[in-house]
């Protein structure tokens, strides 16, 4: 397979997964802030940390509030990770892959591009953000669903999977980093705490699944265990890393990167949950996941021939 094609497949998956993550992050948090009043006003700035765009945001906006942050995350073309930017980039990548992806996949992303990346000015004003976010999520589900049932299970499929899973683990770990910052005692009311953990679960599409798994209150330890270590939950970190391991088995020349993946997996599997949610541990995990991404790039996309 052409290196350029492999790289584009990897990135198209990352962009679409990123758009989906951003849409859920925005949707859940925007509506979560409506209840709870002043107590939750500080919700906005962490969203910028999660998406890693604090600094860039400050260059274009003065205040992080319920208008500027949603605009930044959804529509701002100055933000390379905004939904509009990522969908546009995904579509550009798909356009250069038109001969490789199925025409249904192409049509899905091309249609979404025309429908979701133009005339976005009135969406906030018309209270249509929720609908917009849903459509972004649907696009991602449709895209990967079509891939699941139309794409040849050749190398290309493995690169698409790798992109999707690495991006998914990366996004989840960034969210956990922010939410597990201030563990321990908290003076805020219990109801509010509950509200927050609920928002966290919903942000990663885990609320219903978590409820089925644990019949207790929303316990931070349980939530962390679920999101990091439950390999039956398709958005957990361990699910993603296991998926990376499985895809690598189908790829040539993967010995080195397989070793790194197995090592990361072993460290996650054999750790205590409490030890995984410390600041350092989350940071290390995030770095390790991203280094897997880097190794995919150097092993397959930019080799010297």
């Amino acid at each position: 397979m052409l290196s350029r094609v492999a790289e584009n497949l990897f990135w198209i998956a990352r962009y679409i997964e990123r758009a989906e993550s951003a849409s859920r992050l925005l949707d859940v948090n925007y509506y979560a802030t409506l209840e709870g009043g002043n107590l939750v006003q500080e919700q906005w700035s962490p969203l910028l940390t999660i998406t890693g765009s604090q600094e860039e945001f400050r260059q274009h906006h003065t205040k992080a509030d319920s208008k500027s942050v949603p605009f930044w995350l959804a529509f701002d073309l100055y933000n390379p990770s905004s939904i509009r930017s990522t969908l546009t980039q995904a579509r550009e990548n798909a356009r250069s892959l038109r001969d490789r992806i199925s025409s249904e996949m192409w049509e899905c992303i091309n249609k979404a591009y025309h429908e979701l990346c133009f005339d976005t000015d009135a969406i906030m004003a018309n209270d249509a953000l929720h609908e917009y976010c849903n459509r972004v999520r649907d696009t991602s589900h449709l895209f990967f669903g079509i891939a699941l049932s139309t794409l040849l299970r050749d190398e290309g499929w493995q690169f698409l999977r790798l992109g999707q899973l690495i991006e998914r683990a990366d996004n989840l770990l960034r969210i956990l980093q922010v939410r597990y910052q201030k563990t321990g005692t908290s003076v805020v009311a219990e109801a509010l705490e509950n509200h927050r953990w609920m928002a966290l679960l919903k942000t990663v599409s885990a609320y219903e699944a978590y409820r089925k798994r644990y019949h207790t209150r929303l316990e931070p330890q349980n939530i962390a265990e679920f999101l990091l270590l439950d390999s039956t939950f398709p958005r957990s970190v361990i699910y993603a890393v296991e998926g990376v391991r499985d895809s690598l088995k189908k790829l040539p020349n993967a010995q080195k990167i397989q070793r790194e993946t197995n090592w990361l997996l072993a460290r996650i599997e054999h750790a205590e949950v409490a030890d995984l949610t410390t600041k350092d541990a989350l940071e290390k995990m995030l770095a390790d996941v991203n280094s897997l991404g880097g190794m995919v790039q150097s092993t397959y996309f930019h080799l010297n021939v």
């Binding site: 397979m1 290196s3 038109r98």
Partner: protein, 503 residues
Amino acid sequence: MFGDYNPNGFFDEMFDGTEPRAQGSAEPRAHYASILERMNSIPKPEFERRRAASDLTFRNQGITFTVYGDAQGTERTFPFDPVPRIIPAAEWAHLERGLTQRVLALNAFLRDIYTNQAILADHVIPKELVLSCSNFRREVFNHKLPLGVFTHIVGSDLVRNERGEYLVLEDNLRTPSGVSYVLANRTALTRTLPGLFEGMNVRPVQHYTTVLLEVLRSLAIGKENPTVVVLTPGMYNSAYFEHAFLAQQMGVELVEGRDLFVSDGRVWMRTTTGKAQVDVIYRRLDDDFLDPVAFRKDSALGVPGLLEVYKNGKVALANAVGAGVADDKAVYAYVPKMIEYYLGEKPILGNVPTLLGWDKADLETMLSKPAELVFKAVGEAGGYGMLVGPASTSEEIKAYMEQVKANPRNYIAQPVIPLSRHPTYYPDSGKMEPCHIDLRPYILCGEKVTIIPGGLTRVALKRGSLVVNSSQGGGSKDTWVLEEAGSQTQMQQSQQQTQQRRR
């Protein structure tokens, strides 16, 4: 929708006679009679609904081209008109013979020009005219080509004049585009107006990509299972959709220059497992950009060292390097002479009379009555660099004439041909209006010559305009070639026999 349709003095493809037509008085030509009746039976709102749905399909499928020089750099869909253009069997047989003759002569010319140059020695074509052509490539002199073919994919532009006579307007021998629209338009029309096809015996076109792949594979002489690729300048090229489409339909890799490299005297592509050898390149890149070592140094689109490998016969290119010398618009004027010289035959299809800036007397005529002529730059395509005298202001003409005077070799002029017209639906008026059209058939030359029935009918959508190019606001139609009545009955009979046997 056809209410007050008026051929108004032009040759109309659908209606007989050129007189203004009172309601229902002019007769449709026989081969259009039944589709006219069927179109008239569709209520207008329903027709409009279907047309709009097909527009949206083109957009969602991303069947677009890019317009250069547009600030937006936007992709546009190529407007598709749902009224098909119909060519009767006998008419097509004539075109097929004429086009086959023409490509055989053009290839004979190219072989000659890059070896003995007998036609120049015999003074049939002026030597200076050919050798001064910017697309004449000394680099490939005496290079032996597989099958001796220079132009594997040809798209010649045909027009019909006021008498309905077909003339060749130009030959595109380098990287003619548009064939993907032929296939897309057919698919679109079968979905939009399936009823029109019933019982019409329209000849299919979708085998184009199969034949194309066969031709490309046949260029790797002696190679059991050659690797064929399509080389594109990239997704910002105006015809990118087509490059991707053809690669997908043939099931071969679509590559960019940066995906290829030369080492050990071969061409390779960069893959996830290292390098893989390439045997045949269908390049959609002009010679100039193909190899920065041999041609334009600033080309970032090409493959350094490619020409050397090509000259050693270790990779095949379609079309061959240097083919452009024969579609130079000044050399074009001599194609009828080539046909007589190489084949000893009378040309079946005529040329449009052409004045050459290169010729002193012609240049004088060109400069004396520019408002009556169409001017073209010899090396350009796609409607770029042209001037339609009657449709231009005196300032535009004056500025253009300065360019002609500065470099006469670079320009030709032709009389304005009153191109034939065809009823075309206008959503803004909700009516059928006459539009000028042309026809670009696609000719494949390998071991034999194959012409896909029909081709691309382009429509000048700007009211009154004679320019059909997509970059200049043109649209297109599905083009039908009808099966010969006799052969059809035979086919039906044999089908009936098969069915009987099955019972």
